[in-house]
Symmetry: C2
Subunit: 131 residues, 2 copies
Amino acid sequence: MEKKQRQLPDSCGLGPALAVIGGKWKALLLWQIHQAQPCRFGELKRLQPEISEKMLIQHLREMEADGIIHREVFHQVPPRVEYSVTPEGAELDLALAPLAEWGKKHQERTEKAKAGAARAARTAAEGAARG
Amino acid sequence: MEKKQRQLPDSCGLGPALAVIGGKWKALLLWQIHQAQPCRFGELKRLQPEISEKMLIQHLREMEADGIIHREVFHQVPPRVEYSVTPEGAELDLALAPLAEWGKKHQERTEKAKAGAARAARTAAEGAARG
DNA sequence: TAGGTACCTTACTTTTTTGTCTGTACTTGC
DNA sequence: GCAAGTACAGACAAAAAAGTAAGGTACCTA
């Protein structure tokens, strides 16, 4: 364990929660494992080709240590490892749903605002050209 | 704006949400502003002496840019600035509640597990001493 | 002229997180 | 022998986030 996680200040439980799900790919991984359960290391790699092997395994190990996913090794050749979410992980996934909802809404608002700003800029430019 | 935020992969809206609340102190700040609304810069500083002025203002500005808090300047001497949460920020706070709940539960479980492990270790040591 | 308050800004350093690359152990197939 | 496939491990470097320290404004008091 070479982990010295960034100390998050605790505001009513949010600190620990963000410590668990805060990594760059963790939420995505939890969600994907929850969908495709049980799934293998290579499967996750294929599902998310952007993530490097090192980060994938690092996040998987941390999530396992945090008790939100389960890792099962089958002593075969070639090796086979399956990941699944624990009940605790499933709860976390559920708790994450409202946040995801908010994120989606926020994204839409942001895009609309950007489009609006672009339109306003265009209109202003036209006005300036006429004036 | 000198911001080049860490690009979070989008898993169904969680990416944008974590981008907004992911900073070390942001959740705490949102929560505190929501409690003590409206509150001044110096007030926040006193409420959370751990956070440096730089991070405080940086996070406040980012949260303002993300539209979750509102900043109002009163041109007085000495200067007076008040922060409050926007409706969007209030929604986010609400969406964060289940996550905070989970975090609290997770923390309790973790502590219990640690205590259990310590107890087991003690018992094992006693057993070994007897054996 | 110096010091105090409130709210920042900037330059610079440290810490943390993420990414790249190489290597392991084993088997199958050519 | 060599490549390919599986599931990793570890060294090192780049990038991002956070922290430190100092200064700046604008006005007031002594």
